[in-house]
Each structure stands twice: as C-alpha cells, then as structure tokens.
C-alpha cells in the first residue's frame, strides 16, 4: 500500500479524488477536511471542484448530485427521484428492534405460545411488539390455547424462515447445538486483532 507516487496522483485527478471522498464518506465532508486529506488543494478550491462535478452530473443526467448540508458536502440522489427511493426502501427488509428480536426469538422456540408466556419470560408487556411482528409477517396467530379465556397462540411465519435464511423450523438450532452465549465474552478471534499492521501475513 505504498501507492502515493506522483504518477498515481496525475492519473487520478484531484477532482476525481474529491469525488471519491464525498462518495465514500459516512458523513458530510467539509471542504477543510477534504483539503486536509488532499494536500494539493485548498478549501476554496474544493468548492470549485464540487461545482465542476455538479455541472458534469447535470450535463450527463446523473441520478445524484453533491449538496451542501450542515457539516459539509454530501452526495445524494436528486430530489425528483425521491419517489423511487421510497419504493426501494419499502422493498428492503426491515430492521428489527432489539425488543422485536427478543420476542421473536421466544416465539420461535416456544411456539405456539401465548402472550402471557412471552410476557412472563421477557418481564414486560409485549402487546406493541407482537403487533409489529404480526404486521411485518414475522409472527402469525396459530390458534387458541386451552386455558382460561382461550388465549391466542402465536407462531412464526414462512417469511420468518426466509428472513433468517432457514429452510424450515426444524433447522432452528437447538440451544445445546449452538451453545448460546448471551454475553459477548470469549469470542473466538474470527477477525485478526486490529493491532497488527496490515501486512503481518506470514
């Protein structure tokens, strides 16, 4: 990764570097920050380069542009395409909250299960969470229990299996198979320690 020789810099123009930085950033990038990374450029020059990029995007009909937000520059889709982004978002698999995940896990292992049992285990009211899980087609009503008031029983759906990549319910690992450990304690070092230099390979 010793790459910063002059030839490279010429090959990829400063403007392209600025474009790459704004594209890949995880937050709006200020002109100062960019100038701090690319020594050849001043903060003022960054403004010009961004303007050039936007002009090119406009000319070429690109779907995005660089906007100035609170902290600096950020690349985002054109507002007139927002509708499509909404449709995209709707088609993404929703993120589950921690509460949803916990409740879902109990439903998965204890199904068919009544709300009272879920609440007994989690120690909190689960009405809202259950409702969301049913709405998201993760949990379904599987019938009624035998007890007093014939409580509704809940079970997981096919979509639940699909979401977690399981072929069937039987494939849900038994507790003893995965040796469930709640705490983060002794994890095997899946990733090498970050301490070592990048090229510590033998």
């Amino acid at each position: 990764m010793t790459k910063t020789d002059p030839a490279d810099r010429e090959a990829s123009s400063i403007r392209t570097i600025v474009e790459a930085l704004v594209f890949a950033a995880d937050e709006p990038l200020s002109a100062d920050r960019i100038a701090g990374i690319v020594e050849e450029v001043t903060a003022a020059a960054v403004e010009d380069l961004v303007a050039e990029l936007n002009a090119a995007y406009l000319r070429d009909g690109r779907a995005f542009r660089i906007v100035r937000v609170a902290g600096g520059f950020r690349m985002q889709t054109r507002p007139d395409l927002a509708l499509w982004i909404k449709l995209l978002h709707r088609s993404t698999r929703p993120r589950l909250s921690q509460a949803a995940l916990e409740t879902l896990s109990i439903v998965a292992y204890r199904q068919p299960v009544a709300r009272t049992e879920l609440e007994a285990i989690r120690g909190v009211n689960v009405d809202a969470v259950l409702k969301t899980l049913v709405e998201r087609d993760m949990v379904r009503i599987a019938g009624r229990g035998e007890g007093l008031g014939r409580p509704l029983l809940y079970a997981t759906t096919d979509h639940f299996l699909e979401y977690f990549g399981l072929p069937d319910l039987e494939s849900l690992p038994r507790a003893e198979e995965v040796e469930l450990a709640a705490d983060e304690t002794p994890q095997p070092d899946l990733f090498e320690s970050e301490a070592g230099p990048v090229d510590a390979e033998a």
């Binding site: 993404t92 896990s105 007994a120 120690g123 977690f164």
Partner: protein
C-alpha cells in the same frame, strides 16, 4: 523458547503456531522436502511429537486434536514396520499412509482456496461503497415511519443471541425475587390438585399464573416435581418446544 538442536532430523518448529495437526503436517512435509505420496513416516512422526512437546500451555486447548493425530501417526508407523507379503500385486496392497495422504492433500487444497479468499479480501479492502447509503435510504425512504432505524437486517446469529440473553435475564429475575416467597409448596400442591380435579388435565403455562411473582412459579414447579415423583401427576411434553401438559397420575384415579 528452548532451542532444539536443528540437526539433520530435527526441525525447529516450536516457535511457530499451527492452525491444527494438519497444518503442522503440511509444514513438516514441505520443510523436509519429502514426497507427500511417500512420506517418511518415522521422521515426520518424530518431528510431530517434538512439536507436541514444545507446545506452549496456551495451545493446550487444541492439544487433543494434535494428540489424536500423533496417535494416528504412531499407528501408521507401526503398520509400516509389519512385513509386507511378497506375493500378490503391490497395487492391491493398501499403503497404511494412504488415508493420511488424502487428508493432507485435501487440507492443502482448501488452504489454497483460503489463500485466494485472503487475496480477494485484500482486494475488497480497496473498494468502498457509500458509507452513508443506509442513513440516506432511511431518511428519504421512511418518511412517516419514525421507528425505522437504518441498518442491515437481523441475522440468525442475532436472533439466537437475543434468545440466550432473554432466557438468561429471565433466569436471573427468578433468582432475584426468591426471598419473600409468601407461598408454600403445600399450597401449590393443593392448587394443582384443585385444577386437575376440575379439568382433568392442565399445563405448565396455565399453572404459572400471569401476574404472579415469578418466585411463585418456582414453588409451583417444585410442587409439580414433587407430585410427579409421588406419581400423583404425569408430565408430558407435546413436542420439543411445546407446553408441558400435566395429567392426574395413575395412583389417584379416584378423588
């Protein structure tokens, strides 16, 4: 690290760390520049055992895997010493090392694939997606749905972890509230009897009354175990994850 004399038949291996016995074997085969299809089993076994001896205590966890392989090597070595019958064609005769060779080659191939994956991993470190995409997608896409958090979908691993955590917490809760019971096992036995008399059978989930302190459940549970031991009730689980049903036992048909 103790210096082992690097004589002709010895290899310094103690400073190296191996993924497992096969990793060590591959290393020894390469180090000695021997033909994998004609492994000098005595030499390799000796060196393998030397490594085992030099293995630090931090590797003890995987010592079992190494010991198992050492045993295999010693067994092969012994079989190699047996006189081979002169008759019959050589090909038919199973070389005691054959299985070992297959194992080494197979492992070797997967390690090569692992190396290539390592290269790909390195290449991937040079390309970057939009780190901001998830946030923008959530902002632009969610609109009114305020509870939407940016982020990836949950994984099975997270689901399993969530279950472990919730069960652990539930268990801790029970222990916490153990002090003032306010209910006796005898009371719960009577409670269960009453239930069974009225309904013929009941189940765990029904006996653990909603809203009741969890400590009471433990008492109920102990009462049930007691009754089951006495044969007063029978416990039966429908399916693996199902509720546990409680039936009146054979001993008290009447009453």
């Amino acid at each position: 690290m103790a210096d082992i004399d690097p004589g002709p038949h010895r290899v310094r291996v103690e400073a190296l760390d191996f993924e497992g016995p096969l990793d060590l074997l591959v290393y020894l085969v390469q180090k000695n520049e021997v033909d994998v299809y004609d492994i000098p089993i005595a030499l390799i076994t000796t060196q393998f055992l030397e490594y085992l001896e030099a293995m630090g205590p931090e590797r003890l966890e995987s010592a079992g895997d190494f010991l198992l392989m050492a045993a295999t090597l010693l067994r092969i070595k012994a079989r190699m010493l047996l006189p081979r019958p002169e008759t019959g064609d050589e090909e038919d005769l199973e070389d005691p090392r054959r299985e070992l060779v297959t194992m080494i080659l197979e492992y070797q191939q997967f390690r090569e694939i692992a190396d290539q994956l390592r290269d790909r991993e390195g290449a991937q470190r040079d390309v970057f997606g939009r780190a901001d995409a998830a946030r923008e997608l959530a902002e632009l896409g969610a609109g009114e749905d305020v509870d939407e958090e940016p982020g990836r979908r949950a994984t099975l691993g997270e689901l399993l972890k969530a279950f472990a955590r919730v069960m652990e917490e539930a268990a801790r809760d029970r222990v916490h509230r153990l002090e003032p019971l306010g209910v006796t096992i005898e009371e719960k036995v009577r409670f269960v009897r009453e239930r069974l008399r009225r309904e013929g059978r009941t189940s765990f989930s029904e006996l653990f009354v909603e809203g009741e302190p969890r400590a009471h459940w433990i008492v109920t549970f102990v009462a049930l175990l007691e009754m089951a031991r006495e044969g007063e009730v029978r416990l039966r689980q429908g399916d693996r994850f199902g509720d546990i049903h409680v039936y009146a036992g054979e001993l008290r048909d009447e009453d």
